[in-house]
């Protein structure tokens, strides 16, 4: 029932919000619906339903459902004030506003559906819904840059869609002889239990397509091209959700498929593939960070880097590294969205996204400035924040298993850290410059994320550990 609820609330939200014209009501309703889905996802913790042919809630997705709805809710909160200012400055028209809120709920719906679907076809549909909603939202400012970013996202995303769909077909075809025709051959639970009987070679080809298809969504190098622009040109709440959630959902899909491969003893080792793509993403993003001049694009590249780390972690495999990967996914989404919250207000206050025009924020705007410092240090993997723990686990298991690659990864991390720090010092320290406007802002979303990652850096609840551990075993 709760499962239905997390799907139903956004659905109602889509319908209702695309009709309401008033900003006040619609933004409130947007937050309310996000909160309702968050609340029902919390209830999901208490009572879990058994897997059906279409939906499933298990150890792997429960954390992500919870996380998605939580970040969805906090972002909705953040977006209330953010969008209010955008309307005031005339960046967003009334029509676009209806569109925006509708699409926001449709994005949440898509992600929830993708996370709890037990059917590879349904998951594909869900991810497409989510992608298309974000495509539309990225272009909402209608500036040349925004449209271009949106177009880029659409074309590359479309190709990704096609590739992922082909992969999905291939999975079905490989499963058909073992499970039989029809829907049951597309259900995760069935696929997993019959994994060792699936057609091995088809599975390999299918995985390549899935990796490229969903990898495009996850922004792995060299499929990343849409990501920086989409983050930079869209409204900041969307950047937060993109980085914090949609990338995770795409990776989650890859993980599901990797699980099948892992359960089949003869199938291709997905590890090296993920590792090399992850490593390439980390190194590439790290080097790209240095020449960035737009602060949102900077953190978009940082997201690519972190997706690379996660892919690398799953690529290494083993209980520890998989655990680390899952942890890193959750930590990254919390941290990165919080950073985007801070940046959103900062760019509104300073009316610029150019790094060179921002300076001395800790002096002029202590909460935002120090918030940004905290977030960047957290994302760079410094204690006592959660990313430190996940990076510790990733690197330490990598050092033990593949020292050379791990050393390369560490190099990439240091290079990226250097770049982020360089920009951070420029933005947060020094003498403040430029004029600033007063912007109504709500720090609660940002601070709540920070509190969570702070706690996670020191203590992870045993339940979460259990879920992650169980999943790690399945992932091999």
């Amino acid at each position: 029932m709760y499962l239905k609820a997390i799907l139903l609330f956004p659905l109602i939200g889509i319908l209702l919000l695309s009709l309401i014209r008033s900003y006040r009501i619609s933004s409130f309703l947007n937050t309310l619906f996000s909160f309702l889905s968050f609340a029902s996802s919390l209830l999901l913790l208490v009572k879990r339903e058994s897997a059906g042919l279409f939906f499933v809630v298990d150890e792997l997705n429960i954390v992500f459902i919870l996380l998605t709805n939580f970040v969805g809710f906090t972002t909705a909160l953040f977006s209330q004030h953010y969008i209010a200012h955008e309307i005031k400055t005339g960046h967003i028209s009334a029509v676009s506003l209806r569109f925006y809120h509708g699409m926001y709920q449709s994005l949440l719906f898509g992600m929830n559906l993708a996370l709890c679907s037990n059917n590879i076809g349904l998951m594909w549909v869900a991810i497409e819904i989510a992608t298309l909603s974000t495509v539309l939202m990225v272009g909402i400012y209608r500036t040349a840059e925004a449209l271009e970013a949106s177009w880029k996202y659409f074309i590359l995303g479309g190709v990704g869609i096609a590739l992922a769909l082909f992969g999905t077909f291939l999975f079905y075809i490989s499963a058909r002889p073992a499970i039989g025709e029809g829907l049951s051959a597309m259900a995760w639970t069935n696929l997993l239990s019959h994994a060792s009987n699936l057609d091995t070679s088809l599975l390999n080809i299918a995985f390549v397509f899935i990796l490229l298809g969903y990898g495009t969504k996850a922004g792995l190098f060299p499929l990343h091209a849409w990501l920086p622009d989409a983050h930079a040109e869209g409204p900041t709440p969307i950047s937060a959700v993109l980085s914090g959630l949609l990338l995770n959902v795409a990776l989650y899909a890859i993980l599901r498929f990797k699980m099948l491969l892992a359960a089949n003893p003869h199938a291709l080792q997905a590890g090296p593939l993920l590792m090399s793509m992850g490593l390439a993403s980390v190194l590439f993003a790290a080097l790209m960070l240095y020449k960035r001049r737009d602060i949102k694009r900077l953190f978009a590249y940082s997201s690519i880097e972190h997706m690379g780390i996660i892919a690398f972690a799953f690529g290494i495999g083993g209980a520890l590294a998989n655990f680390a990967g899952l942890l890193h996914m959750s930590m990254h989404s919390l941290t990165k969205s919080a950073i985007f919250f801070a940046i959103g207000y900062i760019s509104q206050i300073k009316r610029t996204q150019k790094i060179a025009d921002l300076s001395g924020l800790t002096a002029s705007h202590p909460v935002l400035g120090w918030g940004l410092v905290f977030g960047v240090l957290a994302i760079a993997g410094l204690p006592p924040m959660g990313v430190f723990m996940s990076e510790f686990l990733v690197l330490s298991s990598a050092f033990a298993k593949a020292p050379l690659l791990a050393a390369l990864l560490a190099c990439g991390l240091i290079i990226a850290f250097g770049a982020l720090l360089l920009k951070l010092v420029q933005v947060a320290f020094g003498e403040p410059k430029g004029t600033s406007t007063v912007v109504p802002s709500l720090y609660l979303p940002m601070l709540s994320h920070f509190l969570l990652i702070l706690i996670a850096g020191i203590y992870i609840p045993p339940h979460v550990v259990e879920w992650f551990k169980h999943t790690s075993l399945l992932l091999k």
Binding site: A144, E148, W151, F154, R176
Partner: protein
Amino acid sequence: MNHNLYFDITHMLAGSMLLVSFVLLYQDRMFSLLNVYTVHALVLAAAAAWQGFVQQAPHLYATAVIALVFKAIAIPLTLRWLIVKLAIHREIEKVVGSGISVIAGFFLTALSITVMMKASGGTDPMTREDLSFALAVVLIGLLMMAGRRNAISQVVGFMSMENGLILAAVGAKGMPLVVEISVAFSVLVALIVIGIFLFRIRERFDVVDIRGLEKSGGER
């Protein structure tokens, strides 16, 4: 009819789709490109219908109808209208020449056949060959997108890729209808979005050339 004939006809339909893909690759005029694409969609419709007949799966007829009405008639007409309206019916600018792209297409076909033949030892030969043709069509569609500068021709490339996907889907026995509908749905959405885009682009630029669109190229 005996089993061999079934097989041959399936083979022929899939093969002709690949052939049409090659023809698409070869085109260098806007209208003829659309015409060839219509043929592509028609062959797909035929293949879907044939599969529906062979597998005795009535829902595949629906797929065939969708392909016929939507891809073979509606979309080419829309695009033709767009081309006229935007006055871009000139030669397609290619990055590489037709000859080279056709050779690349051959390589891709060879690759997909190698991959599929090597792979599906356990599956029946019909699915296997069907799949290898479908994969080739998908790859060629992608090649087209990568090799053309013009937005319309890229869209055509994209759609031929979708056709390849559907070819694979209809070849797979017992594939639930959910998937086809979703494909149709996605194509529909894709078109709508493209339409919105074209209009928006029209508001600001006079050409639907991606180069014009990419003028700003992000941050400098």
